[in-house]
């Protein structure tokens, strides 16, 4: 047992570690350090808890710590960098589940022992049940969509939003009833848990796959808030502080992503975007237009003699696991005297910064990666814009067609380049479910095939160019 003051001080140290850790995550040079500092804070919090609180049985805890750590470590080692958004979703769901279980256990303990809970504890327990459960099932649905276990298309039906509102009100009503009723009854508790789990599913299924990162970020925020609620339940400041930090970080990141897509958060959450029909129906149809197809050797010649190439990597590149091939291709072009740069759209990949991670994994130096604002002026001087598996982020309709659902979204000006080569699987539309005028541009040549196959062909053809 430690003195109460020492315990509080150590928890404070843990919270400070989280804060400084997050601050250091702000620059590539200090980020590794920052993350480890934050981890050290977590270790302090865990050790203090183990030593201090009236823990009577360590066996169960030790078993839990070991099993959880081993599974977590295994997941972190096994996951592929392309699957990072799913991974975050899944881990986030676990965090939510933990909050739900802690809230549930505290509630059952007081009910079964006939102990009266204080009003505020009682309220925060209800909140941690609701938020924890929504985070759990919402994250699992997000995981399933990103892992393609579920269709990425929005799944919705008439009256879904009304149903959700009704569910939420029912949960709120049951919670209030549970808090206010002095009797030892359990059914409202079970109902709150069950309905909240259902609500989590129904909130996320109508959201399209492309918007999942926003959802994950928002659910991350919820899991932070759930942790803070747990902090209120067990009266622990470090939980409240770190929960609030995570809560605000999730909200901010969601907003940044929405801004990059020129959409509002409400539109993302309730718009069922990318469902085909609806808003997408107003986009111009591409009927009657033709695309120009090239073979790999023609495209290779074009790239081999280009002085300046800007690569626009998209999610298709990541799916094909072809980032190493892009690096190889870039090396070959550079060896021939051309310059290769990468234009990274804020939502390239499947979450912000995802493409940076994937290219870093392929050893692309990060001084060759350019943000949208830094590179958009450079396209006019580029000989080739090489679009690999990107679609909506290079669609000029975002600039020119007020009827398009993506109108107003900031895009990469690939169409300003002297020529454009698009590597694409087929003529399917992007996540937004709309036609891309860029593909019908006379300057554009399409090289069909999966990114990996096309890039392999390009690499060997360039080697063959004398």
């Amino acid at each position: 047992m430690m003195s109460a003051a020492l315990v509080e001080v150590l928890y404070l140290v843990a919270a400070v570690c989280f804060i400084i850790g997050l601050k250091r995550l702000g620059s590539p040079a200090t980020a590794v350090n920052g993350n480890r500092l934050s981890g050290a804070g977590m270790l302090i919090a865990i050790v203090v808890t183990l030593v201090d609180r009236s823990i009577v049985s360590y066996t169960v805890i030790a078993a839990g710590l070991v099993v959880g750590s081993a599974l977590g470590l295994w997941m972190a080692k096994a996951v592929r960098m392309t699957a990072m958004p799913q991974m975050v979703a899944l881990l986030n769901g676990f965090g939510g589940a933990s909050s739900l279980l802690v809230g549930g256990a505290e509630f059952l303990r007081s009910e079964l022992t006939g102990q009266q809970l204080a009003l505020d504890t009682s309220i925060t327990i209800q909140l941690s049940l609701l938020i924890g459960a929504v985070t759990l099932t919402g994250s699992l649905v997000a995981y399933a969509k990103l892992q393609e276990l579920l269709s990425g298309r929005p799944i919705t039906f008439p009256g879904l939003q009304a149903l959700n509102a009704a569910l939420f009100l029912t949960i709120a009503g049951l919670s209030v009833y549970q808090v206010l009723t002095p009797d030892s009854i359990l059914w409202p508790f079970y109902a709150v848990c069950a309905l909240s789990l259902v609500l989590g599913v129904l909130l996320v299924i109508p959201i399209g796959g492309a918007d999942m990162p926003v959802v994950i970020s928002l659910l991350n925020s919820y899991s932070g808030i759930a942790a803070a609620m747990t902090g209120f339940v067990i009266r622990n400041d470090v939980l409240i502080i770190s929960g609030a930090l995570v809560g605000s970080s999730g909200i901010i990141l969601s907003q940044i992503m929405c801004k990059a897509m020129n959409r509002s958060l409400t539109n993302v959450l309730f718009g069922a975007f990318g469902g085909g029909g609806g808003a997408a129906g107003t986009a111009r149809s591409a009927e009657g237009l033709t695309v120009r197809q090239v073979t790999a050797d023609d495209a290779a010649v074009q790239l081999a003699y280009a002085r300046s190439v800007i690569v626009i990597p998209g999610y298709g590149l990541a799916v094909a696991q072809a980032q190493h091939l892009v690096r190889e291709l870039a090396d070959l072009i550079e060896k021939r005297g051309g310059e290769v740069r990468y234009a990274i759209h804020p939502v390239a990949g499947r979450m912000p910064g995802h493409m940076n991670v994937l290219l870093a994994e392929a050893n692309v130096p990060y001084d060759k990666l350019f943000d949208m604002d830094a590179i958009n002026g450079e396209f006019e001087r580029a000989d080739v814009a090489l679009v690999i598996g990107a679609n909506d982020v290079v669609n000029p309709a975002a600039r020119t067609d007020p009827g398009s659902p993506i109108y107003g979204m900031p895009i990469l000006n690939a169409d300003h380049a002297r020529s454009i080569i698009v590597l694409k699987r087929g003529m399917g539309s992007g996540f937004a479910g709309i036609e891309n005028d860029l593909f019908y541009d006379p300057k554009t040549a399409m090289l069909f095939g999966d990114a990996k196959g096309s890039l392999t062909a390009l690499v060997s053809e360039i080697k063959a160019v004398a």
């Binding site: 702000g26 993350n35 972190a76 975050v88 930090l245 970080s249 050893n363 943000d371």
Partner: protein
């Protein structure tokens, strides 16, 4: 009790504003590791889970607590480890030409 609640709300509000300030300064390049790193922090519920699991409050609390510890630890360790893995790639020096 009410005082403790108010103090909690004050801390929560201030920490929220602090979080906004911290996150707004992180460049897009690092948003993915930031998300997974912040996610790991939300595994702090492990503290609550430990208290519930080890409190000796009967088997229901112990079982639920055990599960909560496992899940929260997956969140914590998985989150930190995968963030570290990503950040290592950023730190790697570009190879000499």
């Amino acid at each position: 009790m009410a005082e403790a609640l108010i103090a909690g709300i004050v801390i929560f509000t201030l920490a929220t504003f602090l979080g906004v300030e911290l996150i707004n300064r992180v460049p897009t390049t690092l948003h993915t590791p930031l998300m997974s790193g912040a996610n790991a922090i939300s595994g702090i519920t492990v503290v609550g889970a430990i208290i519930v699991a080890g409190g000796g409050h009967g088997w229901i609390s112990t079982v639920l607590g055990f599960l909560a510890v496992v899940l929260a630890m997956m969140n914590v360790v998985g989150g930190y480890a995968v963030t570290d893995r990503m950040l290592q790639m950023f730190r790697r020096k570009p190879e000499a030409p």
